[in-house]
Every structure is written in structure tokens, then in C-alpha cells.
């Protein structure tokens, strides 16, 4: 794409305009926000009551399964915001709104980054709610108040990284239904990780191998370390590195998909 003569300031302003619209749109759709917040909490309640005895397994890293599994909410929240990012972009393609945007001097990067603002807002809202509900339910954050804030920031960062997957799918398919149809597969990938059990305690060999190779495991473990361990540099570093790699990769893919979609001369 030949870039329009737009400088950095203009690009930032464009990002702001598209982001504002994206947030406004998202907040107008409770159907996007409520499941993101309610579903992970529901699953947490079920897991914490049903799998509580897992803590009795020798070597289990936490004394409360609630502490162990609260981070799963953040991951699910990230997944929901990825779906939001994908369906929102696909909706704009389907309705012709992207064509409207393409006729302005808007840059592709501004569309991509700005469009994710809505999904990021949902992720942030969700993360705050999971944290507050968790604290009320008795979750103890070993890394303290600073760790709790880092947890929120980390969760939003992960959500943005995963939103790139949604945006790629949205841009490639141009169909919100297709995006929603593909996401159960992504969900399956999430479950084949150390989400419900520490990797070294997974008894089934193939599952343990898959979980070890699954990048999601390291992101979860980074988040979880803040709750159950305290300040664990290795876990945090690994999680951040994997998150950053996912971010770069998915945004590169999304940008390419969007370039194909935006064939303007």
C-alpha cells in the first residue's frame, strides 16, 4: 500500500479517533461485555468447588484451588476480547464501513490498533471484575498490591496479543460468524495447557508434552506466579516473552490480512 502523506501526529490522532469509536461501539453492546465477565467467573466457581481436592496432590503449588485457578479467568477474558476484536473488524468489512474508512487518509496501522481499543476495554473491565470478585472470595495475592496492578496490566497485554488472532481471522474471513465459528478451536488450545494443573503434575504423557509446547502455558504461569508464588522473575520473564512473541506474530498476520483486504491503490 502506498502510504498517504500522514505524519506520526496525524497517525496517532487517527488511532485515537478509531479507538474512540471502537470503545463507544463496544460499550453500547452489553451482549459483548456480559459474557466476557460472567462466563469466566462461572467457570471459576465450578472449578474451585469441584477441583478443590487437587490441592491435596503432593507438590501442588497452592493451598487453595481458587488462588491457583483465578488466572484462568484472565486468560478466558483475553480470549473473549480476541473474539470481540475479530467480530468487530469482520462486521466493518461486511457492512462496508472499512471501505468508508479506506476512502479517508487513514493508515492501515491506525485501523488495526484503533479497532482493538474496544476489545482492550472489555479485557480491562473483565480483569478488574475478576480481581475484585477473586479478592472478595478470598484469593490471596502473594505479590501484594503492586503484583495485583501488574496482574491487571499483564492481563490486558495478553488480551491485546490474542486480539491479533481475532483481527487476523476477521480480516481474512470478513465474516463475524466465521470468526465465532473458529474460536472453539482456539479454546481447545487453551485447555491443552497448564491451565488446570501444573505441568509437572499432569500424569498423561502426551498431554504434558502438548502443554509444555503450548505457549499458552507460559503466559498462564507468568500470571499465576503473581498470585501463588510472589515475585518469580523466571515465570514472569517467560510469560512476557511468549506474550510479546504472540503479539508480534499475530499483529504481523493481521496487518497482512488487512493489507489484502484493503486493496486501495
Amino acid at each position: 500500500m502506498r502510504g498517504d502523506p500522514v505524519g506520526l501526529n496525524e497517525t496517532l490522532e487517527q488511532v485515537g479517533l478509531v479507538a474512540r469509536r471502537s470503545v463507544r461501539r463496544t460499550l453500547s453492546q452489553p451482549a459483548l461485555i456480559i459474557p466476557t465477565i460472567v462466563f469466566p467467573l462461572l467457570l471459576l466457581a465450578i472449578n474451585a468447588s469441584g477441583l478443590g481436592s487437587a490441592t491435596k496432590i503432593p507438590g501442588f503449588p497452592a493451598s487453595s484451588y481458587l488462588d491457583f485457578s483465578i488466572t484462568v479467568c484472565f486468560m478466558q477474558g483475553a480470549l473473549f476480547s480476541a473474539i470481540t476484536a475479530g467480530t468487530e473488524l469482520a462486521t466493518d468489512i461486511q457492512s462496508g464501513f472499512l471501505n468508508r474508512l479506506q476512502l479517508t487518509p487513514l493508515r492501515r496501522v491506525a485501523i488495526l490498533v484503533g479497532q482493538l481499543a474496544g476489545a482492550t476495554t472489555v479485557a480491562l473491565l473483565g480483569a478488574v471484575v475478576y480481581l475484585v470478585v477473586g479478592l472478595i472470595a478470598g484469593v490471596k495475592i502473594e505479590s501484594g498490591v503492586g503484583g495485583a496492578f501488574l496482574l491487571l496490566a499483564y492481563a490486558v497485554f495478553v488480551a491485546i496479543a490474542f486480539s491479533g488472532i481475532g483481527a487476523t481471522m476477521g480480516a481474512r474471513t470478513g465474516s463475524p460468524e466465521a470468526v465465532q465459528g473458529v474460536f472453539p478451536l482456539v479454546f481447545a488450545v487453551f485447555f491443552l495447557s497448564s491451565m488446570s494443573m501444573p505441568r509437572d503434575l499432569i500424569a498423561i504423557d502426551w498431554f504434558r508434552t502438548v502443554a509444555t509446547w503450548n505457549p499458552t502455558s507460559y503466559v498462564i504461569e507468568g500470571l499465576r506466579s503473581l498470585v501463588i508464588t510472589g515475585w518469580d522473575g523466571t515465570a514472569l520473564w517467560r510469560g512476557a516473552a511468549v506474550g510479546a512473541a504472540v503479539l508480534v506474530l499475530t499483529f504481523w498476520a493481521a496487518s497482512r490480512a488487512l493489507a489484502t483486504r484493503m486493496a486501495r491503490t
Binding site: R2, G96, N99, L101, L103, R264
Partner: protein
């Protein structure tokens, strides 16, 4: 004529081609020119290649071959320059149902590079112009089809473009909304000197609005000219006379034959294509009266653009929709019945 932003160039298209997957030639080499300040009607059935042409001229779709300049800039190599000079309301009326009319204007103004103050001023001005001031703070989801089209038009005008592309602007609108939109388009061309490239599948729309019309069918332009020229090409007005007494039919036909060639008529009447135009009508009435033929009905028919389409393609415009335009472009709703006969501009 000089346009709102002083651009003196119109549209020049030379051998433009667009091929899609499966070797479908949606646009098969078209040439056309639109002068600054002119309203050009691009008329054709569904799938004729109208939208593909508009997408190429608005830089959204690269041409496969040929060349086009819009506002003096090449659509293939100077896309950004073209976009700065054009406004477009495309077929989809792509609006965000969760945003208000005012928010749409602010977004469009901001993305077009207007300052915050200008965004507000220009937004309010255009909302008033298209009659949406009162509805400006309502979400677009609650707008009628006509209101959406008007907002779409207002958004296309935010940056004062010199050339406006309207892709089937009135498809699916009720007659009142269509007429309101026509008035606005006419005003833009007349008062502000905006060049308008308008696609339509409605004969009436092209007839009422366009200074010149290009008829496209299966990717080819089959006829071009002013609506009157096109109609004249296939013959002038015709008159049909139905006598009160069926026995007078032969005498009536004999009288009419003095005024020109025979024309289509109903079984109960006689018809003649007027060699010198509608002025002959009074003489025909007098001649029939002199012969003592009492008339039950006398009707003047003007040839319609449908007659032109029929003459050029052998098919009627309505129901002539092909399936050769690619699925990437939404197919508009079927056209409402268009009254034909003697409406004139």
C-alpha cells in the same frame, strides 16, 4: 465550472478493464468522460459492472487494465490524491448503528484531517443541509433508510470534494426520500459545481438527474449521450389515438399516417411516430376532428431510457440483471416499478 475546492478536472476513463477470479470480466474495457460540474448517470441492470467501475474510480479496486484519471490524478498510481478530491456514498450506506449522526460526522471529519472546531462546524452545517439536525444525537440504528442515505451523503461531503460518487443512492428508498435526495444532488452540482458520478438501475433517476447518461450492460458501454439524445436516437415521441367507435379505427390510422411512421399501439388504437415532435399534436387533433373521428383516448408517449436499453441490447432493463458481477459486491434490492410513458424532465 469550478467546483467547491477549485478542481477543474472531471473524470476520464480509457479502456478500463477489471477481471475477477474465473476470468470474469466485470468491466470489459470502457471509455467515458465526465466534465467538471456535470452529473453523469451510469445506468444498467444488476451485475452490469456499475459498482466495479465505481470501486475502480474511487481507488478501492485496482484496475486490471486501462487507465482512469479522477480530478486529474491517476486512479492506479495516485490513489491518495484521488481520494483527497472525491467523496463517495457507496451502495452499502455503511454506517455504525451504535453511533449517532453527529458522531459519524465527527469521525469522518477527523479522519479527513479537519481540526476539531472545523469538524463541529462542518458537521453541523452538513447535518442541517440534509435535514438531520433534529436526529443528529440519535443512534443511527433508529434511522429510516432515507435518513441513512442522507447521512451517508453528508459524510461524503465533509472534506468538500470536487467529485462525488454515488452508487445507487436511492435503491430501496420510498418516492419522497428519493425525490429529496435528487434535489440535494442537483443542488450540489448546480450551486457548488460538484461533479457527480451516479450509478443507478432506475431509468427515472437517470432521466431526471443526469446531464449525460452512459448505459452499461455486461461490462460494456452500449450507449452514451444526454437522455434526450439517446431517446432521439431511437426515434421521437409517438401518439396513440383510440377512437370512441371501433369502426373509426381505419380512418383514424389513415389520418395519423400523414404525420409520420407507424408506431406501437394497443389493439383498439392507431399509433404514429411524430416526425416533427410533440408540436404536431394539435394538428393531429384538428385533422381527426375534420374527419369526424371522435376520440375515446389520445396519448403522447415519449421514448424512455428503457426503450433505449431495449434497442441497444435487445432486452428490457428491468429484469435484465446478469450474474456476472462478483459476489464481493452486495446485490441491491430489486427495483420498484418505475412509471414509464410521458414523464419528461
Amino acid at each position: 465550472m469550478t467546483s467547491m475546492n477549485g478542481n477543474h478536472h472531471g473524470i476520464v476513463v480509457d479502456g478500463l478493464v477489471r477481471t475477477f477470479k474465473g476470468d470474469i470480466r466485470a468491466v470489459a474495457g470502457i471509455d467515458l468522460q465526465v466534465a467538471p460540474g456535470e452529473i453523469y448517470g451510469f445506468l444498467g441492470p444488476n451485475g452490469a459492472g456499475k459498482s466495479t467501475t465505481v470501486h475502480m474510480l474511487t481507488t478501492l479496486l485496482p484496475p486490471t487494465a486501462g487507465r482512469a484519471t479522477v480530478a486529474g490524478f491517476d486512479v492506479s498510481s495516485q490513489g491518495a490524491d484521488v481520494r483527497r478530491h472525491i467523496g463517495a456514498a457507496l451502495q452499502e450506506a455503511a454506517l455504525d448503528l451504535f453511533l449517532t449522526g453527529r458522531e459519524h460526522m465527527a469521525l469522518q471529519g477527523g479522519l479527513s484531517g479537519l481540526s476539531k472546531a472545523d469538524r463541529t462546524r462542518r458537521g453541523n452545517e452538513l447535518l442541517e443541509r440534509v435535514g438531520l439536525t433534529e436526529a443528529a444525537d440519535r443512534k443511527v440504528g433508529g434511522y429510516s433508510g432515507g435518513m441513512k442515505r442522507r447521512l451517508d451523503l453528508a459524510m461524503a461531503l465533509v472534506h468538500s470534494p470536487s467529485i462525488l460518487f454515488l452508487d445507487e443512492p436511492t435503491t430501496g428508498l420510498d418516492p419522497q426520500s428519493r425525490s429529496a435526495l435528487w434535489d440535494e444532488v442537483e443542488r450540489l452540482a448546480r450551486d457548488d459545481g460538484v461533479t457527480v458520478f451516479l450509478t443507478t438501475q432506475y431509468l427515472e433517476e437517470a432521466d431526471v438527474l443526469a446531464d449525460r447518461v452512459g448505459i452499461i450492460d455486461r461490462g460494456h458501454i452500449v450507449a452514451e449521450g444526454t437522455p434526450d439524445e439517446l431517446k432521439r436516437d431511437i426515434g421521437g415521441d409517438s401518439v396513440e389515438a383510440i377512437p370512441a367507435d371501433p369502426h373509426d379505427l381505419e380512418r383514424a390510422a389513415a389520418v395519423l399516417s400523414r404525420f409520420g411512421e407507424p408506431a406501437a399501439h394497443s389493439p383498439k388504437g392507431a399509433g404514429v411516430r411524430l416526425s416533427q415532435g410533440a408540436e404536431q399534436l394539435a394538428a393531429i387533433v384538428r385533422a381527426l376532428d375534420d374527419e369526424g373521428v371522435t376520440l375515446a383516448h389520445l396519448q403522447l408517449h415519449s421514448p424512455s431510457l428503457d426503450d433505449v436499453f431495449l434497442a441497444k441490447t435487445g432486452r428490457s432493463l428491468e429484469g435484465a440483471g446478469g450474474e456476472d458481477e462478483p459476489a464481493e459486491e452486495p446485490v441491491p434490492a430489486p427495483p420498484p416499478t418505475v412509471a414509464q410513458g410521458s414523464e419528461r424532465r
